[in-house]
Structures are given as C-alpha cells and as structure tokens.
Amino acid sequence: MNLMRFKGLPILKQLRIEEQLLRTSSENWCIINDGTNDPTIVMGVSGKPAELLEIESVLRDQVPVIRRFTGGGTVIVDPGTIFVTFICNKEAVPDLQPYPRPIMSWSSSLYSKVFEGIGDFHLRENDYVFGNHKFGGNAQSITKTKWIHHTSFLWDFDVWNMAYLKLPKQAPAYRSARGHLDFICRLKDYMSRSTFIDKTVEAARTQFLLRSFELGTVENCSETEFRPSTRFLTNEELEAAAVAGQ
C-alpha cells in the first residue's frame, strides 16, 4: 500500500487525487492530510444545498462548497480536520466483501487499534464516536474492482463554522435531534495530532506493507485523461438552489 502524507493540502485537490486514484490506479493507497488550509463545506454526491446549508450565510461569507464523488453527508472542514483515506483493490483485505457495511466494519476494527483504551471509541451507525459524540464522519465509493473509504476527523473545529450547516433530514437515530455542538466532540481532547497520525499509520502497517509515495510521482504516473467529478459549486448554482428549495 502506498502512503501519501500531506499537511494543509486543499481539500479539493485531495478529493480529486483520491477520485483519480480510485478510477485509474491498480494499486492500494493510504492518504493522510493533516488539516486543510481554507474552511470549506464538502457535500456528498447527492447532497441538496437548500436542505443542508444556510445558503444565505454561505454566500454572504463566500464559504467554498464542494460536491465530492463519494456518498454520505455534509461537513465543514478546516485546519483542525485530519483526513484519512484508504483506497483498496477488492482483494486487498482478505475475506472482505466489497459492500458498504463490511467495509465500514473493517475500518472501525482498524481504528479500534488506534483508540484502544481511549474514550469509549466505537462505530455508531456509520460514525466514529466517543460515547455518543461523533468525532469522525465516513464516506465511501465502490467500483467493480476497488473501493475507497475516507474519513474526516474533527481533531478541532470552529463553533462558528457549524452555523453554516443545517440539521440534516437524514440523521442517524443516535443523534436524537441534538444540535451540532451537542452532537460532536473534539479528538484533541483525547489525543495529540501526531499521536493520532502515528497510531493510524501503525495500525495500517499491521495489515499492509506501507511504502511512502510523493505527490509528484502520482501526477506523473497518470496515463489516462481522467476528469474528476468532484468540483466547487458556483454562486449561481447555490443561488438557484436557494430559490428552488433544493
């Protein structure tokens, strides 16, 4: 498995690299991005802006909004977010069925090693929680031959940023209609950034032979004309969504 580590890589670039690797690479990848420089809203592939965002505030404050290629919900990411991604061939993990629930279960067993003895960690519905407070959100995309599972970890977050997000209609049952600040918690209260990243790499090493890869090597190796679907939504699209209630 190739390991790529970044610090502060813009989230659009990270997601486009991931989408390209999923669609064009035959190798396995682990990508870790320690924070992303600019606060950005990231919606899943089917997200409806009017349902998920306070569009007026988003437009007023010019917060960038990305629609990513994986499923799942909406997050606002910033320098306090740590991203960990696994892109695997279907045979990479022995006896793992390439469907959402088995992949989610596999990922939680990996992170159980990272958080062993810390904070009552578990996978709750599809979120990583300490107790009943979410600190990690997951999303996946599954193709005929590969899958990606990526997670945004709330090492820290800015409470003001949460105000850009509405309470989602499709929320896990354990959320129990709690507002953002009552629902989520900070990983920094349990672990330092470097400890978390080191332990994650160590946990990955128990299953894969890791070798470091540089971004430049990835870009040069791409032989296909691949056009990612992950993109920013334009102001016009957000305004139209607000008007149409979508």
Binding site: G44, S46, G71, L96, P100, R101, K144
Partner: protein, 155 residues
C-alpha cells in the same frame, strides 16, 4: 419473510416464472446476470437493466440513483451510473453494450424501488443493444445463484 416467500413462489408459479430462493435473495430464471450483480431482460434488441436482489440486500437502503442521459452509449462491463446507500456510492455496470433509450425517472423521487422491487419497478435503464452476441458472456440464473453462494461463503 416465510409467508412472503410462499406467496412469491405461488405467484411465480401462476405467472410461470421460475424463482430460485438462495438464502434470502431471489434470482429470476428468465434473466441474464453479470458478475457485478446486474440483471438484464432481453426482448429482441431491447434490454432492460437493473441490480439484483443480492446486490440491493448487500447495499442497504438506496437513497439516490445516478442515472445516465438518454442517448448515452453503454459498454458491457463499464459503469453507467451509481446508487447511493448508507454512506457509499456504488457503480452500476451495464451487462450489455448499446445506447440508452429510457431511464427510470421514478427512481429520482423513489430510489427505494431498487430495494423493494429490484426486478420490476426498480429497473434502472433500457438499452438498444448493438451486439446480442455479448449475452453469451453473462450468467444464466442457475450459474448466478451458484456464483452468489460461492461469493457469500468466502466471507
């Protein structure tokens, strides 16, 4: 579940459709199947395509279906769209090559049809095939049933 399966068997018998019950997933006799768990129903040059009961069961509740444009070309084995379930998008691949002539618009407002009626109301696209010989690359219902059993037993 048992009474539903009994009803289904009686209905299938009345309609002269053979139904295999492998575990809890249904396989219909007159369809062809891809190893990526899509089915195709062929009438002349026309193909109706969806995902199998095995696939919908493993994917979970479908909340969104990404449909291709009418007129788009599809190629056997290649992705033409996706379904979203849980937190995942999963590619849907075409069992045949040809041109999309119709998409199931109902799925935009009722994506759960893929779960509740994978072989009927949950159909995804209709294709005008351009190479009927490709059908030999697909599995019949018996082979597909065994394929699913082998896949499930490995995990």
């Amino acid at each position: 579940m048992a009474s539903t399966m009994l009803w289904a068997s009686r209905a299938a018998s009345y309609l002269r459709i053979s139904v295999f019950h492998r575990g809890f997933s249904t396989v219909l006799k007159d369809l062809k199947y891809a190893d990526s768990h899509e089915w195709v129903k062929v009438t002349g040059n026309a193909a109706t395509i969806g995902i199998t009961d095995h696939a919908q069961d493993h994917l979970g509740d479908v909340v969104y279906v990404e449909l291709p444009e009418v007129g788009a070309a599809v190629k056997q084995g290649d992705s033409f769209g996706a379904v979203e379930s849980v937190k995942a998008t999963s590619d849907v691949n075409s069992p045949v090559s040809g041109k999309v002539v119709e998409v199931n618009e109902e799925l935009s407002s009722s994506p759960a049809l893929v779960n509740s009626s994978p072989y009927e109301d949950g159909w995804i696209i209709k294709v005008e095939m351009n190479d009927a010989a490709e059908l030999k690359n697909l599995m019949d219902s018996e082979k597909y049933s065994k394929f699913c059993e082998e896949e499930d037993s490995k995990h």
